[in-house]
């Protein structure tokens, strides 16, 4: 497929990165101006990403490359429908989290450090989605990972520092492994371009297997799949809630995106199937799904429970992409999208609950539904979506994934998905029941909705929760159509 010259991916990626510089000077003069500037930057980034849509729709793939920067690889940018879809959801959730941050972060302090790194990691994240070759992807991947470190250790408590250190070390290992894989790919193929049909590895040998493992470790650590998930349940809960929402909702997905590119663009589904390496991925996916959901049941801290839930959900994503068929891949891409909405909602709601009550243990939240009806209402929507209850978006992704598993002739994974849904029910439903029902009569006084939180906090939550509902319900489901066309493109199916 021909690529059309377009600078929008470059602009969308570089704008938030470069904008941190003026932000640095603005924040020295006025804190209020800084908050507004951060919002404006996130908003413009979203607009830039959104403005790619007409080009993507009419031209298919757009991009531009600069071979002079960082030779011999060069930096190139490229956006197809998959990149666009993920960049769009990333920048949208980022904007909402930035809105949320203004109220939420007021009690956390150190905002002059927080905002620049928030935007820097946005730029890195968009860079990962919008680059056209593996090396550029690696550069932005590292940028995002390091910027996110600062967000994780924001509190600077001993716990946060320890978790951050763990994250940093594992990220370094991941980055090095990824780089190693890219070097091998360059050696073998002579280029590291990502593009349809441009498979960098064409035969199964030790070298390509070595590169496969390197990519798997590199992206797997970021994605949090077993056994490389250990940093995740420590790092996500200690970060401030908007950052947790972004870490779990978006940044994990960069790893998933990398794996999709690896399997479908670097190796090609046929080579993976021929080599039988999809079985490695499937086994890891199975373990990740079960382990994430099971351990989440054992957690009592709400954010830790959500973090383990993310591990289980990343298992779904890995499962779908390793099924090597269109339905599985569609399910994966749609689940990346759905999970971004659901998990961000849940983390922002959990943040609001912690912000309002100062508590973190799940049993302490009895009757909180009466004090915070909007927040817990949105939490309920997102949690039901997570379990896969119709009519929310999580149901559709599980449905498509299950059909993909059946298409691949692996009904065992349907049972695993169903079992995991039941386990999701076991750890999410008690939170909801506890919040609304079985409360003593005198405590059952409804707070006036919309006064529980400031608008800056409830608006993002409500919008995200509405997203969970609309993208499940809406008759013309754009993200699903995009996911389908992206999956067809990746699988090389011509429609």
């Amino acid at each position: 497929m021909k690529e059309f010259y377009n600078y929008l991916p470059v602009l969308a990626t570089c704008f938030p990165i470069l904008a941190t510089l003026p932000l640095f000077f603005i924040q020295r003069s006025s804190a209020k101006l800084r908050d507004i500037a951060a919002l404006v930057i996130a908003g413009i980034t979203l607009a830039l990403v959104g403005s790619m849509y007409p080009f993507i729709k009419s031209l298919g793939t757009i991009g531009v490359s600069f071979s002079g920067i960082l030779p011999p690889f060069g930096i190139s940018f490229r956006a197809d429908v998959l990149s666009f879809m993920l960049a769009l959801i990333a920048s949208a959730v980022w904007l909402l989290a930035t809105i949320y941050s203004k109220e939420y972060m007021a009690h956390e302090g150190r905002l002059n450090r927080y905002y620049p790194f928030l935007l820097l990691s946005l730029g890195g994240c968009l860079g990962v989605f919008l680059t056209g070759d593996l090396f550029s992807l690696f550069v932005f991947f590292e940028l995002m990972s390091l910027a996110a470190y600062v967000l994780i250790v924001h509190e600077e408590s001993p716990l946060a520092m320890a978790a951050g250190y763990k994250y940093l070390i594992l990220t370094l290992i991941g980055g090095l492994a990824l780089f190693f894989g890219i070097v091998i790919a360059f050696e073998v193929a002579g280029n590291v371009q990502i593009g349809p049909g441009n498979y960098l590895f064409t035969e199964v040998n030790r070298l390509s297997f070595m590169a496969f493992i390197s990519f798997l470790v590199g992206f797997g650590i970021k994605m949090g799949i077993f056994p490389m998930h250990v940093w995740l349940p420590d790092a996500h809960p200690v970060a401030p809630s908007p950052a947790s929402a972004l870490l779990s909702g978006i940044m994990l997905k960069t790893g998933a995106y990398g794996l999709i590119r690896m399997v479908y663009n670097v190796y090609g589904p046929d080579l993976i199937a021929q080599a039988g390496w999809d079985k490695i991925l499937l086994v890891l996916a199975g373990i990740t799904i079960f382990l994430g959901s099971a351990v989440a049941i054992a957690q009592t801290d709400i954010k830790r429970r959500l973090a383990y839930s993310s591990i289980g959900q990343m298992g779904y994503v890995l499962l779908g992409l390793s099924l090597l068929n269109v339905n599985g891949l569609t399910g994966t891409i749609f689940h990346i999208f759905s999970h971004a909405l659901m998990k961000s909602t849940l983390f922002l709601c959990a943040g609001a609950m912690i912000y309002k009550t100062g508590k973190r243990q799940i049993r302490e939240f009895a009757g909180i539904g009466f004090q915070m009806p909007i927040t817990i209402g949105c939490f309920t929507v997102a949690a039901l979506a997570m379990i896969g209850i119709p009519p929310f978006n999580g149901f559709i992704s599980k449905l498509v994934l299950s059909i993909g598993a059946l298409d691949a002739g692996k009904p065992g994974f349907v049972f695993l998905l169903v079992l995991s849904s039941l386990m999701n029910g076991i750890y999410y439903l008690p939170i909801i029941i506890n919040a609304f029902l079985g409360v003593e009569k005198e405590k059952r006084v409804w707070a006036k909705p919309f006064t529980e939180l400031k608008a800056g906090m409830w608006v993002p939550i409500v919008l995200l929760a509405l997203g969970c509902l609309i993208f499940g319900l809406f008759p013309i489901n754009y993200p699903l159509a995009w996911a389908e066309s992206a999956a067809n493109l990746l699988m090389g199916v011509v429609k």
Partner: protein
């Protein structure tokens, strides 16, 4: 109006009703109840207009693209009957709510979820494919949970939890079944699976079990019934009546559609038909007898009725089993089953509402605290007796017709396939019917007979409580007296819709239940019941004390749940922390190695230092020796100097001589040198210093730079080890610090 839009309107009424109730700024039961009744009745009217007004033609309504799947509804003979039945019962119960919900609290929440549950129920029966059915099934499960736990006391919450988790589990099992079906056949509509799929017995078995679990939990068949006797009694009575009278029928309806139309369709005498037919028949019989027996053991009115529902669902599932079994005629089973679903909805709703009406005034359901209400509330007593006569199948009341149809199904099976199991089935049928009579006698005696002072109660009941009872009782009597008419008006169109031919339909229309044979079998049932009642009277077999471990919950469900939770919280959480521990362990290990390396390094360092010190000392000693030698020389020198002075003078003379000789020689050599220079005029070439650089370049060019030509394993191992050691040094540093 277009019939299609009427159908859409009927479905949107409950949704709108729920929304309006939610938005209504009032907590007054009367107003909220009025909204509830309006929307329910409107929905009923819409369905009735669409069906009867449209000349009883099948109507389809589609909502393509909804949830990316599309919703498909169909109103036909079968679904119209179910929808109308559900809506009629819902309307009657909505009237009842005016009187009942006055003293229950949180009326708004109740009505909102009552409307949504209604939407779920009618959606399930109007759905024309399994995905649509599933969506509404889930809606119904989740919304009815809120009805179950309405009281929010400890009992309600624990019953609700059991209900919710089994409900979610059932929903997922159903979804699995749908996936398997879709994958095998490519369709989710209620059409028979193709023979190629039917031959794959493993797949059919997996599918059938998934559906059996999914719908069976909702229907409450043995051994999946455990939630039912807990959840139905704790709900407010209107909800109990609808749960028992209507909602469990959605499970039966689902079983019927899936097993009768899809998995084991008529005309395909595959292994699936025999297997699932006998399974359903067997489970139905066990459920019938066990439910009736346990109902007899209860000492609380709503619990008795809940177990009674379990037992009656057994009848329905048994009829389905008889229809699915490939021998005999399936028309008896199907007609009996459909007829009994209708009848049970009528009398069970009536009975629950009777008990609830009593509860509103007495605030008690325990047998110990009730009694003597016959004179106080004769109308309730009348309705209750009518309902009881209906459920026990007395001739002249509605249960007689359907039970006779079901009995026909069993005897027909036996005559087609005279095995002792089917003989036993017929006897169990009689036993279950006899037990039904027994527990209703017990219920009636304990609530209405005897003497008790009820003068504190008001003499008149609220009209809204009485009206639905009268309607129910009237329906019981009407259907009881004209069973053929009901069959023609209700059962025949339904059977026509699922594809029975005209001969079968005429046969069903021609069944006359008023014959000596059927009446005498009823007489036998009554005789058995009398014998059991004697036993009850003499040996108190209605009040057996079972050991607490002897329950399905203790034997099966709790261990399974605890085992699973234990697995999650124990080994799996342990495995997770183990992986984490491995990371820390590696960190610690490398930290240890590094500490050791540092120690070796220190040792080497100190070795150097010692060696240095030794050298310094050695050097010092050498210096001393040197000095001594020097001294020696200087002493020797001083002695020598004197001797040398004399020698010097002599030497100077000799020197003069040499100088003169030297001058001569120098001139001679100068001459020779000039000659030599002329001979060797050619300049000397400087050596080429770039020669080795070129050689180096050639060597480099020959050297292969491809990594693939190197020994990859060694390179990778070296690199990986290097990286890992480096990283884990830091990582371990952290680990050490944390410990």
């Amino acid at each position: 109006m277009n019939a299609q839009w009427l159908l859409a309107l009927a479905l949107s009424c409950p949704l709108a009703g729920g929304l309006v109730t939610w938005l209504a700024r009032t907590q007054l039961n009367k107003r909220l109840g009025a909204i509830n009744l309006t929307f329910t009745a409107l929905s009923l009217i819409c369905v009735a207009l669409a069906w009867f007004g449209g000349g009883r033609q099948a109507i389809t309504f589609q909502l393509p693209g909804f949830m990316a799947l599309g919703l498909n509804f169909e109103l036909n003979g079968l679904t119209a009957i179910f929808a109308l039945l559900f809506l009629a019962a819902w309307t009657a119960t909505s009237i009842y709510c005016f009187g009942y919900m006055e003293n229950e609290g949180s009326p708004r929440r109740f009505y909102v979820f009552l409307q949504l549950t209604l939407l779920g129920c009618i959606g399930v029966v109007l759905a024309s494919d399994l995905i649509t059915l599933f969506l509404f099934f889930e809606l119904m499960t989740l919304c009815s949970y809120v009805l179950v736990i309405h009281k929010e006391d400890a009992d309600a919450m624990s019953a609700g939890n059991l209900y919710l988790f089994l409900g979610v589990f059932g929903g997922l099992a159903l979804l699995t079944g749908i996936f398997l079906l879709y994958n095998a056949t490519g369709t989710v509509s209620f059409t028979a699976i193709p023979p190629a799929v039917a031959e794959n017995t493993g797949l059919v078995a997996a599918m059938g079990i998934a559906f059996l679990l999914g719908f069976g939990i909702k229907a409450g068949i043995f051994p999946l019934h455990i939630w039912l006797p807990k959840a139905h009694p704790v709900a407010p009575t209107p909800a109990s009546a609808l749960l028992s009278g209507i909602m469990i029928k959605t499970g039966a309806y689902g079983l019927f559609r899936v097993f009768y139309s899809v998995i084991a369709p008529a005309g395909q005498n595959g292994a699936g038909a025999v297997f699932f037919g006998s399974t359903l028949l067997g489970l139905g019989l066990i459920t019938m007898v066990l439910g009736a027996f346990l109902a007899l053991q209860q000492r609380q009115a709503k619990k008795t009725l809940a177990y009674s529902s379990v037992s009656q669902i057994g009848y329905i599932v048994m009829g389905l089993g008889a229809a699915v079994l490939p021998f005999g005629h399936d028309l008896y089973g199907v007609s009996g089953m459909l007829f009994h679903i209708l009848n049970h909805a009528v009398f069970k709703t009536t009975l629950f509402l009777c008990v609830g009406a009593i509860y509103v005034y007495t605030h008690s359901l325990e047998f110990d605290q009730l009694g003597g209400l016959l004179k106080k509330y004769p109308l309730v007593t009348f309705a209750f007796v009518i309902g009881a006569l209906g459920i026990t199948g007395m001739p002249g009341f509605n249960g007689y017709g359907s039970k006779t149809f079901l009995h026909h199904a069993l005897t027909d099976l036996y005559s087609a396939n005279p095995s002792w199991l089917l003989w036993l089935a017929e006897k169990l049928f009689v036993l279950a019917s006899a037990l039904t009579i027994c527990y209703f006698v017990k219920l009636f005696v304990n609530i209405f007979l005897g003497e008790k002072d009820w003068s504190r109660l008001p003499a008149r009941m609220a009209l809204s409580l009485q009206l639905p009872l009268v309607l129910g009782a009237a329906a019981v009597i009407y259907i009881g007296i004209f069973p053929q008419h009901t069959a023609r008006a209700v059962i025949i169109p339904a059977m026509k819709a699922i594809g029975f031919d005209q001969i079968s339909l005429e046969h069903v229309a021609g069944i006359n239940v008023w014959n000596g044979h059927d009446l005498s079998s009823m007489a036998i049932t009554i005789a058995v019941a009398a014998a059991i009642l004697l036993l009850v009277y003499r040996f108190k077999i209605d009040n057996l004390k079972f050991p607490p471990w002897l329950s399905l919950e203790r034997l099966l469900y709790l261990p399974a749940a605890r085992g699973f939770m234990g697995l999650c919280q124990g080994p799996v959480a342990y495995a997770d922390s183990l992986v984490n521990g491995i990371y820390y362990g590696f960190g610690g290990l490398f930290l240890g190695i590094c500490k050791h390396s540092a120690r070796i390094d220190g040792a080497i360092d100190s070795l150097y230092r010692k060696a240095g010190t030794g050298s310094v000392k050695l050097i010092g000693a050498t210096g001393l020796l040197d000095k001594r030698v020097n001294d020696l020389y200087s002493v020797l020198g001083k002695g020598s100097l004197k001797g040398f002075g004399k020698l010097a003078a002599w030497d100077r003379n000799l020197d003069e001589l040499y100088k003169n000789l030297g001058l001569v020689f120098t001139r001679a050599i100068g001459k020779l040198d000039a000659v030599d220079r002329k001979l060797t005029e050619t300049p000397v070439q400087p050596e080429d210093k770039r020669e080795w650089l070129g050689r180096m370049q050639r060597a480099m060019a020959n050297f292969s730079g491809k990594i693939s030509n190197l020994n990859v394993e060694v390179l990778v191992a070296a690199l990986a080890l290097g990286v890992v050691v480096l990283i884990f040094v830091f990582y371990g540093f952290l680990g050490g610090k944390m410990n």
